[in-house]
Symmetry: C2
Subunit: 143 residues, 2 copies
DNA sequence: CTTGCTGCAAACAGTTTGCAGAACT
DNA sequence: AGTTCTGCAAACTGTTTGCAGCAAG
């Protein structure tokens, strides 16, 4: 699956006439090796700690490329940081966010998805996207 | 209803030992006189245009007070601006956002609310709050 | 050798904060 | 008088951008 994503990005790069660089490889490897929901800062630090010097700006720019290439997705929770998650083809999910430990759990609910479409339709909206976040305390943080 | 809110804020102010000032009165009046979902900047400009000079910082600080007093609520869409909406006791609603004209339509759906609670419970979460936004194009902007 | 990419630092936008003076009580 | 509040400007945070030098094709 990691190989698939690398190939996917490669195709995108070729199609777009982008160059293949050391930095993009490292950022892609690091991003693919992490779990979900990493912030730009976290990714930047992770790369830095692997003693590969890469500028923050490059990380920002490259994550946008990944998003454009369809292998990452921006998620904006309300903590002032942009996070990125892996895109899994055809999958949509929402997030449960623990306000205690910042854990993020994904979930999917078809009924809710459908209800949203209905609501949009009822208002004459052409739905493009939606986001649903549930904030609370996870089992561990309920103490 | 406007009177009620003013009274509510007054109670809050008294309880908290806050002072009554010209600025807070103006900001409250202006906020109450607007429709939903005003951004800090918009509110600030609206006050300014009424040739009452009030500093931005005061608007920021005062809106936080209103939030604390329970008569305003922060809503964070993803356009980089904090907006505030009126709190109507006991009411919860979500937002349909038109990405064309930035119109915001409120809606409420009990089934979705309930499903969210179920999802949280299933994961052992103690739900505190949640937000649901549907992005799309409204009738006018579908052209 | 041409053009795109990177890293740096400066710029940005929205928001917060320190502080001196103004204004409530 | 004592303290809180305000307005200003400076500080801050996360992100973007301009540009000179570097590197891929």
């Amino acid at each position: 699956m990691i190989q698939e994503k690398k190939k996917a990005f490669n195709n995108f790069a070729v199609a777009k006439g982008l160059r293949s660089t050391r930095q993009r490889d490292i950022i892609l490897d690091t991003f693919l090796s992490t779990n979900q929901h990493i912030s730009v800062e976290e990714l930047y630090l992770k790369i830095k700690s692997g003693n590969q010097g890469i500028g923050q700006a490059t990380v920002y720019r490259t994550l946008k490329l990944f998003t454009e290439a369809g292998l990452a997705r921006e998620i904006l929770l309300n903590d002032g940081q942009t996070r990125y998650e892996h895109v899994i083809a055809g999958e949509h999910h929402d997030h449960l966010v623990c306000t205690g430990c910042n854990a993020i759990i994904e979930f999917e609910d078809e009924t809710i998805e459908k209800l949203q479409k209905d609501i949009a339709a009822r208002q004459g909206f052409h739905m493009r996207s939606h986001k649903l976040e549930i904030y609370g305390l996870c089992i561990k943080c309920r103490h």
